[in-house]
Symmetry: C3
Subunit: 452 residues, 3 copies
């Protein structure tokens, strides 16, 4: 975090630059994403546990289990799904589809099956993407009342008639829904919620990228003293968030800012979808950061479809929770198919996403109200060495102007973010100048809880 | 009306589709407009009565007479004007202008005259449209202190010199101003006011179209049980509205929504001019309906010129009354001349106008506030058969998204129109989905009078 | 002023047209600007006094002296700077730079010096504009701890090596900061503040134009009865305003509208920079006037850099003070160099600037709230001769429409400026129509202090 006046360590660098050299954070996140990529995850089952166990090597994660049959609001935790193997064997004896080569090949949550049938009949259980014939689609049957396979349309089209053997060695049994949680206590009970989904199998951007990036964030935040408390969730989509909300109703009211993140490894966007509230502090902070980080950020209004912001922003909660992605879900051809692989995500994009999010957290942590010690007329900056009268470079002029903005708007009613927005200057610049003006006795902090 | 939950008949179809087959409503309105077209109407006189008598064959209409000399606010009801014949006879004996061929030929409210004079002198009493030389203009002299004729400029230019005979067999005598009124009692005293002007002679769009369409509306509304009470006015422009307002001051406060309509039979627009309030419910409802009914509706802010919205929106009343037209008055070449004839209006345009207005009435009647029975997280739609997970057609996806909007915004603070506006979905779709969700115990109606 | 119903003289013409024939005001202002142009002004010293003495020939001006060392808020009045001569003598004995030809040639506030040195060494004390090589720059050293000269780069480049003599016969001594003030008492204590800066040497637009125009304004206003009291300041930039504010804290709260003006003689803009408040009455009035006076006015939001609006709009005061200029400072090549001479400003531009400002003062003086005597329906304008039913020219139609706007919005809640803005009609037209409607007993004035 940037503004760490409350930190005994006196560390004033931001998360991004603090813990990693330039570029290193991207490689770190990418490696972790690559490590968890092959695992077959679903909304329940050992794939989730296996993934959480890998993340636990890096962070101190609590794993929660919610038993099948548990009622969570309007929903019931389903039977746990596990899978060991799945394949289609051609008349020639060749495995033409093999779960071991990609977890996408099985219809997620398929019921078990072991049959022999003619190709014509088997085809009713095979899903392809005729318009992206080289790619294997990602499909689900969460009801657990179907079975099926996914494969490339090109390969599918070349299958020869005959009797095929189809095996799905899965189980649907009483078990649990599993999610991971990290809580970091800050100076206040006010919480920042950061959440990402863990239920997708071998899709790199959606959402190995989000799981790995959030892990890196946990690592950074938890080693620091922060103003806010932080809660990190790694749960299956929909049911994970609903389970957490059902089991933590007393914590919900502490959430002052929240973010769902996913698909953070490609080079598109950046995309920010506002909270249902629409002008919550998280919305303003994210828009501010993205406007300075990108020439053309994709800022979209809330709509009730997407990721777990659907639950956090349901009318009974109406939490200030936005969604951050690079390319927006559903808008890129790699979405929900085997093209969303490790070639699609890049360390540099992961690093940029990480920096964008930490910049927003810097705003949340650092926003304050200040007032001029003497609010009448401008102070004489020259005699304090604060005003660069010589120089004349663009940078110096910009810095001088930013300082004049801070002095003009520090009336106890404009926060640093207000000033940054009005001046069109990055929050970090405004915050640094305010600190300098405090040191020079020109500003004093006002005791207002700003962004909560 | 669409949402007739309060109706014992259980009829849930809208007015437009209910009472007429596809297209039939347009023919019905057109026929009536054609029937009243030839009549010479003015702000007073037997032409108005004759027109009201024709309308009475279809609807139960109260005819009110306001005596000449009556003071209505700042105005005085003038002498009643009636006309039996008018012509100009050329030196050859031929009638070159004849009132019997078109009521436009006489300057409306002309004083009587019977003179012989040379053409050069007569020309001062003849009005033409040099820039539309084939058309006869519509002109008035409501002061009753002039006489004159209107004719096509082409014909006018060919008149030969000589002594002409000019006859206007009119009278200006103590009598009455006449207007028609229908009141339909609904479940509440809150009123919807619908008003159109009856003072124009043989102009088809302006306003035989409005008179005929309002008659069809009366027919539909009065045979139904409605939430609102409805008041329909067929009165001469300006003085009709002023007379009604002067004589019904106690009813005025019941008017919650109002509409002036005219020129509803051509293919232009649709045009909606907002009430003086600017964001009244009628304004929002009309804009919503027209945005879905037309790719480029003409939405204009209130300005203090036009039809009787001038009176309803005067500062002492400031009623939520807008104006609906197809082409905006004064913007089309047929306006106020003989080109505004029965060829200019079409059954299909009348039908479309009728449907637009009834769609707005559906919004007014049907707007409600709902709240989720359990507002926490999304409900599980799948097990209720409410969410089409298969299908994948655009229609299914749109319907699913609309349902998610209803569920997300039904917090007791967003009405159905609020939701429809936010979701960008027609009100009728939102209202139908809300009904379905009520049946499924996911929503309950909140007891808030919404649009009043 | 336009609306002088409160004036015994009954004079209803505006300032601009009242006191001067067409064009004469421009010549008058230009002559005065030309007269004061040669004087070497700075933030202190006899140049300021000499200038004020010239202005006093035209207006009754109080001259205030603030002693060196006086504390004014965060600032201290510096030593007074005076200069008698300055030159650079070439080895040939020729004066290659001579203060007597232009006050720009000396670095403003230079400490005294009399040295001989080689050209190479002297060059460190010479300022030029390499990119405008023919022009002499305007530079300052308000600290008084440097000395230097300014010259054209072309001439500078041709200087031959050798020993030069540099003489600056200046003094920095205990003295005073000088500013001029005029107070005109109106019907109320509410004040309009008009301020311009006097500290620039021989720069015609910046700000001989402003000094001369403000003098003309004083002349006009002080001979009239006004609703507001008026305060006019002619002070050095920054320290003049700060000194006045420090010494008049009790008057500040009376300031209801204020304007800083400078650079009012060129043909650019017009530019209006809003007050920090952003939607103060002065902002609305200026924007209204400029929109009708120019097809493309340059309206800019407040930013904390520029002229003395920086002090008036500091957070402790936050006064409703805007800035009026023609071309915006810093955006034209003549800015702060010898190209800003008497050829750059024109009588016609000065006249236009004067008219724009007086039009704004007309709005400030003339804004009122009216209400209809009978607010129900429209009044019958025809029988009062107020409505031109014949005619049909664009002007007549516009006037009729403007009158309908006045009648429709005169509800005691819309002021004349509100109506003018909504109708898109100049304030003066609306105000004249309102007066006519008052005479006809259709409107009465509401006792609301409007623009304060």
């Amino acid at each position: 975090m940037n503004l760490m006046s409350s930190q005994p360590t006196g560390d004033s660098r931001s998360v991004a630059s603090d813990d990693y050299g330039n570029g290193a954070i991207g490689e770190t996140i990418f490696s972790l994403a690559a490590e968890i990529f092959p695992i077959c995850r679903s909304i329940t089952g050992d794939g989730v546990r296996q993934t959480l166990n890998i993340l636990r090597r890096h962070i101190d994660l609590d794993v929660h289990e919610v038993p099948s049959g548990t009622q969570v609001f309007d929903w019931t935790i389903p039977l746990e799904w596990n899978i060991r193997d799945a394949y289609i064997k051609a008349p020639s004896g060749e495995r033409v589809v093999d779960f071991k080569t990609s977890s996408l090949h099985v219809l997620n949550y398929s019921q078990p099956v072991h049959v022999q049938m003619p190709l014509s009949q088997l085809k009713e259980h095979i899903y392809t993407l005729p318009q992206q014939p080289h790619a294997v689609p990602y499909r689900t049957a969460y009801g657990g009342d179907r079975w099926g396979f996914c494969m490339a349309h090109n390969q599918f089209a070349q299958l020869e008639d005959g009797i095929y053997e189809a095996v799905i060695d899965s189980s649907l049994t009483k078990g649990n829904l599993t999610y991971g949680e990290v809580f970091h206590r800050g100076a206040t009970d006010h919480e920042v919620l950061l959440s990402t989904h863990i239920c997708h199998p071998s899709l790199a951007n959606d959402n190995c990228s989000g799981l790995a990036l959030l892990t890196a964030l946990v690592k950074c935040i938890t080693r620091r003293k922060t103003r806010y408390s932080y809660r990190f969730l790694f749960g299956p989509g929909t049911l994970g968030a609903i389970s957490w909300l059902a089991r933590n109703s007393s914590s919900v009211r502490n959430i002052k800012h929240g973010l769902v993140l996913s698909c953070v490894g490609d080079g598109g966007g950046p995309t920010y979808k506002k909270s249902r509230i629409g002008d919550a502090f998280i919305d303003r902070a994210f828009i501010h950061v993205l406007k300075h980080a990108s020439s053309n950020p994709n800022i979209i209004d809330f709509f009730p479809y997407g990721y777990d912001e659907r639950q956090f922003c349901s009318p009974g909660f109406n939490l200030p929770v936005g969604l951050f992605q690079r390319s927006q879900f559903g808008t890129f051809p790699q979405y929900h198919c085997s093209d969303d692989n490790l070639d699609f995500i890049k360390p540099e994009h992961l690093a940029t996403s990480f920096q964008m999010i930490t910049s927003v957290l810097d705003v949340i942590e650092g926003d304050r109200y200040y007032a001029r010690t003497n609010p009448f007329c401008e102070p004489q900056l020259g005699r304090r060495g604060l005003y660069s009268s010589v120089g004349g470079t663009k940078d110096v002029a910009d810095r001088n102007m930013a300082m004049l903005w801070v002095l003009n708007l520090s009336d106890g009613e404009h926060s640093l973010l207000d000033i940054a927005e009005r001046a069109g200057v990055p929050f970090s610049v405004i915050a640094d100048l305010a600190s300098e003006l405090v040191v020079n006795d020109l500003l004093t902090e006002r005791d207002i809880v700003t962004s909560a």
